[in-house]
Amino acid sequence: MLRLPPCSYLRPGSVDEAAELLAEHGETAMLVAGGTDLVPKMKRGQMEPELLIGLGHLAELRAVTETEEGGFEIGAGVTLAAVSGSPRLAAAYPAYTRAAALVSSPALRNVGTIGGNLCVDTRCNYYDMSFEWRQACGFCMKKDGDICRVAPASKRCRAIASSDTAPAAIALGASVVLAGPGGRRREVPVDDLYRDDGQYFLAMAADEIVQSLRLPPAGSWGSAYVKVRRRGTIDFPLAGVAVALRRSGLLVEDCRIVLTAVGSRPFDVSPAAGPLLGRELTAEVLAGADDLLAEVANEAAKVAKPLDNADLHYVWRKQMTRRAVEQAIVEAASCLPAPGGPA
């Protein structure tokens, strides 16, 4: 049986205390909430913390509250299942709850948290392997080695951003509250949480903790998340696209497009939606009649540079990114409030 290497586990009394422990122990410590990402990686020697700082028991991380301005604040320790099973969140933020519902499998979503999914480790066929396999391969720069196996000339790690919920959160204009030692708090857009580097993919400080996700009022946004993967469940995204759309009257006023699993960070490619602005999303446009969606999708997917370090052929993954952009626009349009309804 695969087992974890020995490590200690602390149960801090509060988020502040957790941040202080993190600051105190530095690189030897890691946070664990649901553990669904960390535990398998520890079993395979990809992560080797000596100390785990538990967050799962902290009630302050498990609250879902409506904010004064009419949005929602979701504690980082809320499970993916709780989010995807919430009718009021699903009504307001379909892209986000759909993304949460498409993470892994039901039993895992009962434990995996929304904070954990935002911070989920980047993935790579050369990295997500046992110690013995990586030893046979000669290791890579993300762990125990010094080169990138999929792109040996690359100066940085090319592991793939694999969070399903991050692109949805970014498209919806969400932010995260980060907690630091000494009661320090700061709020940053989710997009600012990431760096385009598979090894150092989180931009937050080493002693910071994602405390909550703040979603702005849903307003008249319609949104959708489309995930490309091999099977109907379990699998990580081979490409993922979140779209949020807003209309003024019948015309598109704003459209955000965010991609995941096509590089080392989620990519906000909203400028690609330019041709949609001021246009009416008629049934013909949504059916692809005048190539408008294709034009947007081609532009949006330009940033996608898949490599041979995930499932299926990388050319196909690029092609599917375009298709997923089109699908996500169509799906987001389908859940827009009726024109003339409440703004």
Binding site: M1, Q135, R231, D235, L312, H313, V315, Q319
Partner: protein
């Protein structure tokens, strides 16, 4: 033989006899065994694909607290292998490692963590050699030494070249000749249960509990490697969490725990990790195939030439048999008057391949059926009609001397076509339906090593302990126990739950070759039936004598023997005849195959027949395939337990779809690409379509109550039917499985550029085939039985 109307439990959809133990978690699989003082064993495996071992230093490992024993190849220097012609394995290698995962040392320690840490502390000095990664590479002289020194040329393991009838003359007469090339990627069994073995030594005698499908062959290998008489070794097949052929070889971990238990005097257990299960493998061979068929104007086959090249991985395993199986069963569905088969198996530096559900036949079945579809298209013939014109007839003999008895090929065809509405289907974009047929053996006609023992024996005891059947057959989830209990129950007028089973234990049960080649129902079933019938006769005789009536007047049913309860009758019979113990055995009849070299592979006392229709939608942009439904008609002879039989069909369809669409054991630079259950794709609940199972009962003259196999056959036609349905949907041929969506997009893109709408291998390599062994086909009198 009693007729169907007289059967009481045979054929009913009753629960499996061990079901309650499985739903309560009380059944103990191999890794659930705990013995006092038990040590844990881990194997150190090679991280080189191909390397010479310069030295192994175990001193640091031995010095670790908690480490009790460390062994290397020098402790187990005797070679073994499942087939006598290629005993090329060492439990632990000490000269060369031949694939990533090849075991080189074993540690017994107080717990698994310590054993693992000790393995990592063993220093192995390797001299890397140039690894061989493909069939093509294996066929040319290697840069370094060949992977094995007993075969060749180059890294060729095995060659076969057989001709039945005059193939050149057949092609010369043919109005149409077509050639195609196909590739079937390797895949693995992925049993839910990882292999596990525990050994204990008591009074100098070794007992091994293992998740094995054939304790008989493990027993034999242990005796050879450990140098102990068979009587000092006992191998018990533990309740089994899935085999599919992956637990049919004797394995390093099984041998290592026995050796370590002998050395330490303590029980030793080794349970593989999931990744190690991928290295242990023995799964489906990657096979490159070339087929040429000549037909007359009516589409009747005049000659066929089939070539296969198997990527065997690093060791022999069942390789010689696997090679011949890729050429043996083409003739059991189609009457081919002249047939030539040339096969080659090569060694490469990958985990060894072996038998997986359908052993060696799903690959050529895929090639043959798709080839016939293409041939039909070329002739302007309906693909079903082309097949029907060539179907074998019941009670005939094939050109390669296989004896066909009951054959429901036409009936399974009719039934799936009718149920699926295949011929009346409405066309819509992206939608397609495909059809294919197949057949499979009901047990191999010959054992794996030459011996004259019966293939299955059993002992049936009746006494105060109730009714106990001792059989060497192993329940691997396929329903072996339920089938045997049902047969005994039928003979004795009891219910299957009344029968106690002792199975798969070389210390307690008589010989049985094990659970492979779909042999249990037919062979162990016939043995159980014989023992049951003999017991029944004793009970009836005792009651008839007591009651003063004729034996024929004593009715056996519902727990009663005539006027008596079963228990009363059993007591009476024991008083009258002494200990009530009867025996049954089964040996396949003589003359079911030919007499040429290579004739040992293919013969079976009967063949099952399957037909499949697959209905799918394919997305022209993404290449994604959604299978909507599969209809599977199967000639089972007679179902012994309908619930279990349907379960086998559904499971076979599932595995066939997995192989058609996603399962692949593939490598990059000598390393497995997907050694985890996340990365090795298998169908989930959400990927599995509805299956409509149609059981056709042809009542085989030699099967128990007419029964034939159902464990392997239904997988076979599913794969080509998917390929055919995809062609129906999109008009492209994907001549390589699995058909992943990226391949579909590539072929569609090629077509849009005016290229051939086909994805698949371009050609077939030059193979140094030996001179053909020419075998005269059976004469007309022999051919019609």
């Amino acid at each position: 033989m009693r007729r169907a109307g007289e059967l009481h439990v045979v054929g009913r959809a009753l629960p499996r006899v061990e079901a309650a133990a499985k739903v309560t978690g009380s059944i103990a699989y191999a890794d659930d065994i705990e013995l006092p003082g038990m040590l844990s064993c881990k194997l150190l495996r090679s991280h080189h694909a191909y390397a010479r071992i310069i030295s192994v230093d175990t001193s640091a490992a031995r010095a670790m607290p908690g480490v009790v024993a460390v062994i290397t190849g020098h402790d187990l220097p005797v070679k073994y292998g499942i087939m006598p012609t290629c005993e090329d394995e060492l439990a632990l290698e000490h000269e060369k490692v031949r694939f990533v995962g090849d075991p080189v040392a074993a540690v017994a320690a107080v717990n698994e963590e310590t054993a693992l840490a000790a393995c990592r502390a063993i220093r192995v000095d390797y001299e890397p050699l140039e690894a061989v990664g493909s069939i093509e590479q294996a066929l040319v002289p290697p840069d370094d030494e060949p992977i094995h020194d007993y075969a060749g040329p180059a890294n060729v393991h095995r060659l076969a070249a057989l001709e039945f009838g005059d193939v050149d003359a057949g092609f010369a007469k043919a109005a149409h000749v077509r050639e195609d090339v196909f590739f079937f990627e390797g895949n693995t069994h992925l049993p839910m249960e990882q292999h596990s073995a525990t050994a204990q030594v008591v009074g100098g005698k070794v007992t091994l509990w293992s998740s094995t499908q054939d304790p008989h062959y493990v027993h034999r290998a242990l005796s050879k490697v450990l140098g102990l008489p068979m009587g000092e070794l006992r191998v018990v097949a533990a309740p089994h969490g899935g085999g599919f052929g992956g637990k049919c070889d004797p394995f390093s971990h099984e041998i290592a725990v026995c050796k370590l238990a002998l050395m330490t005097g303590r029980p030793v257990k080794c349970t593989l990790t999931r990744e190690e299960v991928f290295y242990t493998h023995r799964g489906r061979h990657p096979v490159l195939m070339w087929v040429r068929t000549g037909v007359d104007d009516d589409g009747r086959i005049l000659a066929m030439h089939f070539r296969s090249a198997l990527d065997g991985g690093a060791y022999g395993s069942y390789g010689p048999a696997s090679t011949l199986y890729t050429g043996a069963l083409q003739t059991t569905t189609y009457a081919i008057p002249a047939y030539r088969f040339e096969g080659v198996r090569v060694f490469t530096n990958k985990a060894p391949c072996g038998p997986k559900r359908g052993h060696g036949t799903p690959q050529p079945r895929f090639a043959l059926e798709v080839h016939l579809d293409k041939l039909a298209g070329e002739l302007g013939l309906d693909p079903v009609e082309l097949r029907r014109r060539n179907y074998v007839k019941p009670f005939t003999r094939t050109v390669n001397w296989l004896r066909i008895t009951s054959c429901g090929l036409s009936e399974v065809t009719d039934r799936v076509l009718e149920a699926s509405g295949y011929e009346q289907r409405l066309r819509r974009p992206g939608h397609g339906m495909g059809f294919a047929v197949s057949s499979y053996m009901c047990g191999a006609g010959l054992p794996i090593y030459w011996n004259r023992l019966p293939h299955s024996e059993c002992v049936l005891n009746v006494g105060r302990g109730g009714v106990t059947l001792l059989s060497g057959a192993t329940e691997i989830g396929q329903g072996s126990d339920t089938v045997l209990a049902t047969i005994v129950a039928e003979e004795l007028g009891l219910g299957p739950g009344d029968i106690r089973l002792v199975t798969g234990d070389t210390g307690l049960t008589p010989v049985d070759l094990g659970s492979y080649s779909s042999r249990v129902t037919f062979m162990a079933g016939n043995a159980a039936r014989e023992a049951g019938a003999k017991m029944r006769a004793l009970l009836v005789k005792a009651v008839a004598e007591k009651e003063g009536c004729a034996a024929g007047e004593v009715r056996v049913a519902g727990g009663r023997i005539g006027v008596m309860s079963f228990e009363e009758a059993a007591l009476l019979a024991e008083e009258r005849f002494g200990t009530l113990s009867t025996r049954g055995s089964y040996t396949p009849p003589e003359g079911i195959g030919g007499r040429y070299k290579g004739a040992g592979v293919g013969p079976s006392p009967a063949y099952s027949y399957s037909a499949a229709v697959v209905d799918l939608d394919a997305d022209e942009r993404s290449g994604e395939i959604r299978v909507n439904k599969v209809w599977l008609g199967h000639d089972i002879g007679r179902s012994i337990n309908e619930l279990a039989a349907r379960g086998q069909v559904e499971g076979g369809v599932y595995m066939g779809l997995g192989e058609a669409l996603m399962e692949a054991q593939a490598y990059r630079d000598g390393l497995l690409r997907q050694p985890s259950m996340l990365d090795y794709k298998s169908l989930t609940f959400l990927d599995m379509p509805e299956v409509e199972t149609i059981l056709v009962e042809t009542v085989d003259p030699e099967g128990p109550y007419g029964a034939k196999e159902v464990g392997q056959g239904p997988l076979l036609p599913v794969i080509p039917a998917v390929v055919s349905a995809l062609h129906d949907a999109l008009g492209v041929w994907v001549d390589e499985v699995p058909i992943t969506p990226d391949k579909v997009v590539r072929v569609l893109s090629a077509r849009s550029k005016g290229k051939e709408p086909r994805y698949g291998p371009k050609g077939f390599p030059e193979v140094p085939y030996p001179a053909l062994v020419k075998v005269a086909p059976p004469d007309a009198a022999t051919a019609s039985l």
